[in-house]
């Protein structure tokens, strides 16, 4: 009781005696989550507008004699003639480490029943991306834990790498695996007192779910919880049942949460799952606001919608926080059509894409990464040296294999060189198969790829390669931990390490049947 009285006394002390000025307007119509208001002559673009009953909205259309406000929340109690007032504030969300392990809505309010968010720092949802001067080149890797990606399409801290593919091709799985792998790496470098080893930069994750089924989001949360990744992750949920305004805001709110890490010398990863639905929700809002429709009925600024969002992911230099925000936007294509409006837009904005193919997925090649169509424009600058050494030629070899495999279907008489390329290709495909939620550490990947490149899988039947890879993987973890530590150091594979790898793989091979 006394604390309540103290709180009231503090509030009374804080009360100012001066006059409060507000700019007001009256609702002339409310429909489909959009309110049109008369008045509000001093309203700013993107300003928060307060409606009766504690409902807020954002002013998105400033017209000659009316203001179009997108209502965030329940608009069923708003009616014509209700008074709304400007707040003088831009929409802001709580940010900081207090959000780790939490599930929040598009406004940063908790929806996981774990109590209020412990954070008193607010960041605006819309913010201009870092300019040219504060940026630094991307040269530190983000280990996704997925061999096909880390070896052939390396992603760097501060990069924007698009994950694109048809429905049910494993796009979300790649994103979740990456988040889980960040948690695994963080735990690996965590000391007993909860701090991290000197020089280690932990990676925090933000998963933004836009327009997804609630059941899918629940499954994702469960997977992260089970893998112990939730403690390093914040989930921003704007499910399909949420109003379009929240779905439109959610990625920007997530970006604001990620910017906190970037500006404070930390590294963060943000997954936008997915931007196709985000564009659709923005289209819905724009059409209701009667903005002119363009291609596929999207408004003219749909490119700017995604470019301003993704430009906020960057790596900044020492004078500007020395942090990074890596983005993994997801785009769902229809029947593999990457030339549709939104996919082409986002492809051109991002620094590369991981393209997932339905055919590969159905053939059992999972993750169904199409090596030919996937690219990372940052490239090997963001790859550890040892990985660069062993995986440098992989992409070319697989491309050659795919080309020859298509021809090999027609003829039976093949020359020895072609046969050898095909046989190696078959084994490489098997090597890169990886079940979901089982990311591999970089040093384990290096050891496995080294063994493949050194020809140790040559005499193993293709059907047994997956089992052999798994067996070798387990062998390295259980019996050759010191060698893995050596590979983890990040340097090139020296002749001595090469010899050790040789001896280890030969030892394994003697026992493998």
């Amino acid at each position: 009781m006394s604390s309540v009285l103290e709180q009231i006394q503090q509030e009374i002390a804080k009360l100012e005696t001066k006059t409060v000025k507000t700019n007001v307007g009256k609702i002339t119509s409310v429909f489909d989550g959009v309110a049109k208001l008369d008045g509000l002559s001093g309203c700013m673009y993107n300003e928060m507008i307060e409606f009766p009953g504690g409902v807020y909205g954002i002013a998105l259309n400033l017209e000659e004699d009316e203001v179009g406000v997108v209502v965030l929340g329940d608009y069923s109690n708003l009616k014509e003639g209700d008074e709304a007032k400007s707040t003088g504030r831009l929409l802001s969300v709580p940010v900081g480490k207090g959000l780790l392990g939490r599930v929040v809505d598009a406004l940063g309010q908790p929806i996981d029943g774990k109590g209020p968010i412990e954070s008193d720092i607010l960041y605006p949802v819309e913010k201009i991306a870092p300019g040219i001067i504060p940026r630094k080149s991307v040269d530190q890797p983000v280990q996704t834990g997925i061999m096909a990606i880390d070896a052939m399409i390396p992603i760097g801290r501060g990069q924007r790498e698009l994950i694109i593919g048809d429905r049910s091709t494993g796009k979300t799985t790649i994103a979740i695996d990456t988040i889980i792998n960040q948690a695994n790496i963080n735990n690996q470098h965590k000391k007993e007192d909860g701090t991290f080893e000197d020089g280690f930069r932990p990676m925090y994750s933000i998963y933004v779910a836009v327009g997804q089924k609630q059941s899918n989001i629940a499954r994702t949360i469960k997977a992260m919880e089970e893998a112990g990744a939730l403690e390093y992750c914040t989930i921003v949920a704007a499910p399909a049942a949420d109003n379009p305004a929240n779905q439109y805001i959610a990625p920007f709110a997530g970006a604001a949460m990620g910017e906190y890490y970037m500006e404070n010398g930390m590294d963060a990863l943000i997954v936008y799952d997915d931007l196709t639905k985000h564009a659709a929700s923005y289209r819905q809002i724009s059409l209701i606001l009667k903005r002119p429709a363009g291609r596929e009925a999207y408004p003219g600024d749909v490119f700017y919608l995604h470019s301003r969002l993704l430009e906020r992911s960057a790596r900044v230099n020492e004078n500007n926080g020395n942090g990074s925000l890596t983005a993994l936007p997801i785009i769902e294509t229809q029947a593999g059509d990457v030339a549709a409006y939104i996919p082409t837009n986002v492809i051109s904005i991002t620094d590369g894409q991981v393209f997932l193919e339905t055919d590969l997925f159905n053939q059992g090649i999972r993750p169904a990464v199409s090596v030919g169509l996937s690219v990372s424009r940052v490239g090997s600058a963001a790859q550890v040296k040892a990985m660069k050494q062993v995986a440098g030629k992989l992409k070319g070899e697989l491309a050659q294999y795919r080309e020859l495999a298509a021809f090999a279907q027609f003829g039976s008489d093949l020359d020895a060189q072609t046969k050898s390329i095909l046989e190696k290709g078959d084994r490489l495909v098997e090597l890169f198969k990886q079940p979901p939620l089982s990311p591999k550490k970089a040093e384990e990947q290096i050891a496995l790829i080294w063994a493949m490149q050194a020809g140790y899988f040559k005499d193993i039947d293709v059907k047994k390669v997956t089992a052999a890879v798994q067996s070798l993987h387990e062998f390295f973890i259980t019996a050759k931990g010191d060698l893995l530590v050596e590979l983890r150091s990040g340097g090139k594979i020296s002749d001595a390490t090469d010899e050790k790898l040789k001896a280890a793989v030969e030892e394994w091979k003697r026992s493998f049947k």
Binding site: V4, Q7, I8, E11, I12, K14, L15, K18, T19, V20, K21, T22, N23, V24, G25, G39, L40, S41, G42, E64, D65, K85
Partner: protein
């Protein structure tokens, strides 16, 4: 769409014609404008009248300070309010009073879309919001 722009432009011109030398909407001028329009009704007459009425309402509200008060409010204070807002908005502001006991004490002044609140009721509402 082009038609609606035309109506808006026309309505704005009519509002300008309805203002007297002090920049205040005058009843005489408004009736003159309405007479002239009635004698020679333009296309979309009804729409035009609606738009004219809307703009005129905004114009009138911008020249008035609606003073809601609870407790005593003297003539001197009212004059001071008029003077203050006339300076602030750089146009003649005429104050009108409405007693509103719901304010408990203090005043709330509305000029156009702007609301200046110095009432106890609003302070208490703010306090309730912050303590909750």
């Amino acid at each position: 769409m082009a038609g609606s722009h035309h109506i808006k432009d026309f309505a704005k011109k009519l509002v300008t014609l309805s203002l007297d030398a002090d920049g205040q909407a005058s009843a005489e001028r408004v009736s003159a404008v309405l007479d002239a329009l009635g004698q020679n009704p333009p296309r979309d007459y009804k729409k035009l009248l609606k738009q004219y009425s809307k703009y005129l309402e905004v114009e009138v509200s911008q020249g008035q300070a609606k003073v809601e008060f609870a407790g005593p409010l003297g003539a001197e204070q009212l004059t001071a309010i008029e003077k203050k807002f006339t300076e602030q908005y750089n146009r003649k502001i005429v104050a009108s009073t409405v007693e509103n006991p719901a304010l408990i004490a203090g005043v709330r002044i509305t000029v156009g879309d702007d609301v200046y609140d110095a009432s106890v009721a609003t302070r208490l509402a703010l306090l309730e919001q912050n303590v909750a």
